[in-house]
Subunit: 369 residues, 4 copies
C-alpha cells in the first residue's frame, strides 16, 4: 500500500488549509484500511456470523472487561440510536435526553419514526442535570395521570456530548443510580467515544460497562469508514436481536465490513509493557486527536486571546471569534460557524480527528507565533 496516497493529506504546508470542519470528512484510518485489504480475500459467513466480527467482539469484551457483553455491529449512528432505542424500550415508553441531544435535534425524527417519544429536558452545556432528571421522574411517578403520559423507559446521553463536554465518573454513577431507582435503562451514544475516553480522567470502557445498560462505540467518526459497535455489557440484549435489527433494515449481509474495521480498532498495538495492557488503535486515535485539540486550545486562548464558548476538553472546540477576524482565520483554518454570540462575535467550532496530524497543528502554531 502506498503510504503517500493513504495517509491523510497534511494540511500544514504554507498556504494550505488546516481542516477542522468535522470528524467524518476523511476516509478510514490507514490501519483500518490495511486490515480491510489484508482480510479481503478470505471467505466468511454473513449476517454477523463472520469470524472477523467474532474476533472484534472478543477484543471489545476484553477492552470493556465485560466477558458477558453482547455486541452488534451496525452501519451508522442514527441507525444505531433508532434501532437500539426501539429494541430496548417497551412500545409505550419514551426516552429522556437533553434538549440538545442528537436524537432530539439531528436525526430527522428517526426515533419517533419507530413510535417512541423523545422527552427533552434542559441541556447544561449538552449534559443532563441529575437533580432536574430526578425531579422530573418524581413528578412523573407522582402524577395521577401518569398512564396517560409517555412512560420514561430510558435515559439517553452522549459521551462526549454534542458540545464536546463530558460526564465525570461520579456524574455517570449518579445517573446510573437514578436509572436503577426508577427502573430506567441508561444508554450512551458514543459516536465520538474515542475522543471522550481520551479526554476523561476517570471514565473508561470498563466503567461504562458497569454503569450503563447499553452504549455504542462509534466507528464512523473515530477512524472507520462506517460502523458502530453496540454493547450490551451485561449480556442483557433483548431476545431475537437479529430479527429486530433486520426489521429495522440495519443488518448488513457482509457484516465483515464492520467487523474487520473494529478488529483493527481494538487490536492491542505493540507489546504489553510493564504489566500495562498495550493501547488499542481506538485509544491511540482518541489520544492524538485530544492532544492536538488541547494544543489548539492553547493556541486560541493563550496566544490568540479567544474565549471558549463552551469549555470542552475533547476534540470539538468552540471559541468566540470576533467577526472581524473570521475572514483571516478562514484563510488558514477550515471550521464551522456554530451560532452568533452578539452583533460583533460568532461562536465557531473547530474539530480535530484521527486524521488531524501533528504537522497540521504545528503549522498553525508557527503561523500565529
Amino acid at each position: 500500500m502506498n503510504q503517500d496516497t493513504n495517509k491523510p493529506q497534511s494540511t500544514g504546508g504554507a498556504g494550505e488549509i488546516c481542516h477542522l470542519e468535522s470528524d467524518y470528512n476523511n476516509g478510514a484510518h490507514e490501519a483500518v484500511l490495511r486490515h480491510l485489504i489484508e482480510t479481503n480475500a478470505e471467505r466468511t459467513q454473513s449476517y454477523g456470523d463472520d469470524r472477523f466480527s467474532d474476533q472484534a467482539r472478543q477484543l471489545i469484551r476484553e477492552a470493556c472487561q465485560a466477558p458477558e457483553a453482547q455486541i452488534w455491529f451496525l452501519a451508522g449512528g442514527t441507525q444505531t440510536n433508532a434501532t437500539i432505542i426501539d429494541c430496548a424500550l417497551q412500545p409505550y415508553e419514551g426516552v429522556l435526553c437533553a434538549d440538545t441531544a442528537h436524537i432530539n435535534v439531528h436525526e430527522s425524527g428517526a426515533v419517533e419514526f419507530t413510535g417512541h417519544k423523545v422527552i427533552a429536558l434542559p441541556s447544561h452545556d449538552g449534559k443532563l442535570d441529575a437533580d432536574e432528571l430526578r425531579a422530573w421522574l418524581d413528578a412523573y411517578f407522582a402524577d395521577e395521570t401518569a398512564e396517560h403520559m409517555v412512560r420514561p423507559g430510558m435515559v439517553y446521553i452522549t459521551f462526549p456530548t454534542e458540545l464536546g463536554t463530558l460526564y465525570s465518573a461520579d456524574e455517570l454513577r449518579t445517573l446510573h443510580d437514578i436509572c436503577s431507582a426508577y427502573g430506567l435503562l441508561l444508554y450512551v451514544d458514543g459516536a465520538r467515544l474515542a475522543y471522550g475516553l481520551a479526554a476523561s480522567s476517570d471514565v473508561t470502557l470498563p466503567l461504562l460497562s458497569r454503569l450503563t445498560d447499553i452504549f455504542y462505540i462509534g466507528g464512523t467518526k473515530c477512524g472507520a469508514l462506517c460502523g458502530e459497535a453496540v454493547v450490551f455489557p451485561k449480556g442483557n440484549a433483548p431476545s431475537h436481536m437479529l430479527s429486530r435489527i433486520k426489521r429495522h433494515g440495519a443488518l448488513l449481509a457482509k457484516s465483515r465490513v464492520v467487523g474487520v474495521q473494529f478488529q483493527a480498532l481494538f487490536q492491542p498495538l505493540g507489546g504489553v509493557t510493564h504489566g500495562e495492557p498495550a493501547p488499542t488503535l481506538y485509544q491511540t486515535i482518541g489520544r492524538q486527536a485530544v492532544d492536538l485539540a488541547l494544543r489548539l486550545r492553547r493556541l486560541f486562548v493563550d496566544r490568540l486571546g479567544y474565549t471558549p464558548y463552551i469549555d470542552s476538553p475533547t476534540n470539538q472546540q468552540f471559541y468566540i471569534i470576533p467577526n472581524a477576524d473570521l475572514a483571516a482565520l478562514r484563510r488558514h483554518i477550515g471550521f464551522e460557524v456554530w451560532c452568533p454570540v452578539d452583533a460583533t462575535r460568532t461562536a465557531c467550532r473547530f474539530v480535530t480527528s484521527w486524521a488531524t496530524t501533528e504537522q497540521d497543528i504545528a503549522a498553525l502554531e508557527q503561523l500565529y507565533t
Copy 2:
C-alpha cells in the same frame, strides 16, 4: 497492493473446495478495494454530497442513458427495499409481489415495520404472471369494498428473481403497461442486477430506466463491500429524500464509502473501441459470473446428468441431486441445500459470483472428466 492477498483465493487446487454457497461471502472486488485505497486520503463532504458519490451518480446516469435520474446510495438490500417502498408509497398503499419475493419472505418484516402490507401473488419460478396480476387488479378495483382493503400502490419484482430467473424485455413491458394503466409504480429489486443484465438477451439499464419507476443496482452481491444504488430514472424521487432516508436510519455520514465503490463499478474499463462503449466493471463482473455459471451448467447437465430444478440462466443454479451423491459432491463443492424433491433427491443451489474464478470451474471440470 499485494495481489496475492487481495485476489479471491483460488479454490481450484487438488483437494480444495470450490465455494458456491452464495455471492456475499467474499470481500470486495479488487478494483473496488483499490479505489477505496486511492481515494482514502481525500477530504470530502458528507451525507451524499461528496464528490465521489456525485461522480458515481453521473456514471450511473450515463450507463442508464437517463440524464434526469436521481440516485441515492444506501448500505444494504433490506434497508433499501424498506426505505424506498415506504418513501414511494402513500401511507394507505401496499406492495404487490410474488410470494417468493425477498420482501415477503426474508426481510424479517421490514416493509411491514414501515406500515405497509406486502400483498403476495402466486410465484411462477420466482416471477409474477402478468395475467394473474391484471386479474387481481381488476378484481380489486371492481370490489365495492376496495377502500376497506389495502390499495395496491406498487409492483415489486426482483431481477433476477430469488430463483435465478429473468423477466424478458417483453415481460417487463407488459408489467410496465399494467402498472401505468392502474396507476401503480413498478419497482425492481436488483440485488443481483449485474448477473441478471449479463444473462439477459434484451434487458439493459437503459431499458430498465424507461420501463420502471424505481430500481436499485445491487452492490453488496456484485463486487462491493456494501452499498446499493437506488435509481429514480425519470427524476421522479419523492421530495425531501434526505430527510426520509435519514428518518429510516439509512443515511450514511461518510456517504463516500458507497459512492467510491460505485464509482469503481461504473467506471468504463479500457478504451472505447469501434464505437462501442467500453464495458464497466459492473458488466464485467456480471459477465464472468454468468459465463462460469453456464460452464457449471454444462458440467452438471451434460457430464453429470443432473436435472435442473429451475431453469436459471443467471449466477444462481439449481439442480436436483440424488441424495446418494451429496456427500461426494461436498468434498469438492460448497453449496446450499434448497429443499427436498422427493425421498431420494434434493434440490441444491450453486452460486457463482464476481469472486468465482475460471480456475475454480476448470478444476471442477477436470475432476469430473
Copy 3:
C-alpha cells in the same frame, strides 16, 4: 320509551322488504338503549374506571367462568384487532390467519400499520386447517433462515368465520394444543360471537376462556351501538394496557358508553329456574338470529330449492341463486351479492341479526308457500 319508535321496524308487511344485508345497519337492541337511558344521569369516573364498566366486567367474568379475566372495552372491531394484536405480539412477530380473515382482507392494513406482518394460510370455508398450520410451523422452525423471516407469534381465528362457519370444540382444542406446543398465542375475533355461540353445539364462553389466550366479544354486530369487550381470560393482559390502548387512540374518555351496553348485554334475564343460570341478553340475541337463519335455510333449501354456497350454521347464510331469480328475490329481500358462481348463477349472502323479527321471516315463508 315509545315501543313503536324503538322497535326495529318490521319488514314483514305486504310489499315490504325483509332486510338481510348485514348485521350492523340497525341501532341498538331496545334493552341496550333502555339501559343507556336509565344510567344517563349518573356521574361516573372515566377512562374505564366507571362503575358500569366494572359491573359489565364482573358479569362477563361470570359468564366466562373466568374469575381472573381482565377485560377492556374498545369501540370497534378493526380497532380492537389492530390494538390487541399489536399489544400482545413482540415487535418482531407476525400473526397467522386464514387468507379470508378480516385482518387480512378488510381492515385497510390496520395490523400492518402497527408494524406486524399478517401471514395468510389457505382458508377452508373460512377456517384454518390444523394440519396445514402445524406443517407451516414445522417448516418455519426447521428453517435455518427463520430469524430472517417474520416469527409467528399468534394464531388469529374468527368465530364464526367471515363465511359463517364454526370451529368445533375439538378443533379449538387442537389449535390450542398447537399454539401451546409452538409458543403462540391463540386469539379469537368474536365480532359475531353471539351468533357463533348460539349455533355451536359445544363451544361456550367458558370453553373459549380455557382454550384461548385472548378473545373479544363483539357488541357492534350483536345488539350494541358500538363496542367490543376484549377478554384476557387468564389475567394475562400485557402490563400498562391503559397506556397501550390510549397510544392506539382507542381509549374512550366516557368509557361508560360501552360499559353500560355490555352491562345490558350480559345481565342475566328473568329468574334462575331449575338451577340453570338464566340466559343473558347476549345469548337471547344470538339464539333468535340463529333460529331465524335456520328457518330461512329451510325456506331457501327445502322450499325454493337453492343450494347452499357454504354450509353455514350461523346468522350469515350463503346460497347459490340463479341469476334469473335475482330480480324477483330483490323485491322481497335485501341481500348482498357475494360472488359469481358461473355464468348463470350467483352466490348471495343473507344475514339475520338481533334486529330480524319472527314476523320478518314468517312473512317470507308465507310469500313463498
Copy 4:
C-alpha cells in the same frame, strides 16, 4: 322519556356535592339521547354513509358557512388528533404546539406512535406566542442542517386551551398568516369547542373555517356520549380518507352512532327570529356552561376572595385556594387539585359543563352568601 331519570341529577340540594371535577363524567345531553332513541329503529348504511351522518355534515357545513367542507366523525379526541395529524402530515414532518398541549402531554404518545415528532414550544397560559413561533420557524428554515431535523408541517392549537384560555380572532389570524407564509397547516383541537365559542367575543365557526386548515368539533365533552367531528373547511381532506381512517382503527361500522348525536347537536333549535339564525344545541350547551362558569367566578373572586390561578373565560376555572380551606370546600364542591402554588396554597380546577345546572350554582351561591 322520563325526565327524572334522564336529567342530570341536580346537585344543589342541602348536603349535596356540586360536581365540577370535569366535563366528561355524565352521559349525554338529554336531547342527544332522545335523538338516539328516535332514530334507533331506522336501518341505515354504515361506515359513514348513513343518512344521519350526511345530515349532520350538512348542518355543520351550514353552521360553518363552509359549503365545501368535508367532515369525518371519529369516536374520541386522542384518536382524532393522532389520526388526523398523521393523515395530514407528510411522513417526514412534525407538529408544532405549546408544551402544555394535549398531544404533547396527555395522549400516551399517540402522535409519536404514528411516526411524527411533537415539537413543543413554550406555553403562555396554554397558548403559543406568535412571535416565538415565527422566530422558531425562521431559525429552522435558516438552518443549513434543516433536512436533518424534523420539518415542521403543522401548528396544533387547542381552543380553548388545556388551561381554559382562548385565542382571539386577531391571534388566530396571525397564526394563520404565519402558517401560510411558511407552508404549514393550522389545526385546532376543539375538544371543548362549544365552551370556547361561547366564551369568545369574536371567534366563530365560520371564522375558524376561514382561518384554519382543519379543526375538530368536540362532542364527548360537549354533550355527546362519544364522538368528534373533524372539519376540513375548504374541501381539503387528503385523498382516501376512509382507508386512512380505517387503517388507524378509527372507522366506526355503525357510523350513525356519532352522526345521530351531531345531528342533534347542530339542529337549530326553535324558530328563526328577527333574521337571526336560531342557535343550535351545541351553542346552547356552550352558552349555559360558560354563563355558570362566570357566576362561579364571581362567587369565588368577589364573594370568597380567591385569586384566579389562570384568567380563564371558559368552562374550566382555576383558583388559588388556601390549603386550610380545601376540606371545607370539598364538602360542597367536587373539584380537581391542579398543582401546589406554595406551602399554604393550591391551584384547583373547577369545570362546568352541559350537565351543570343553574340550580347547582345557585345552591352554591346561597351556601356562601
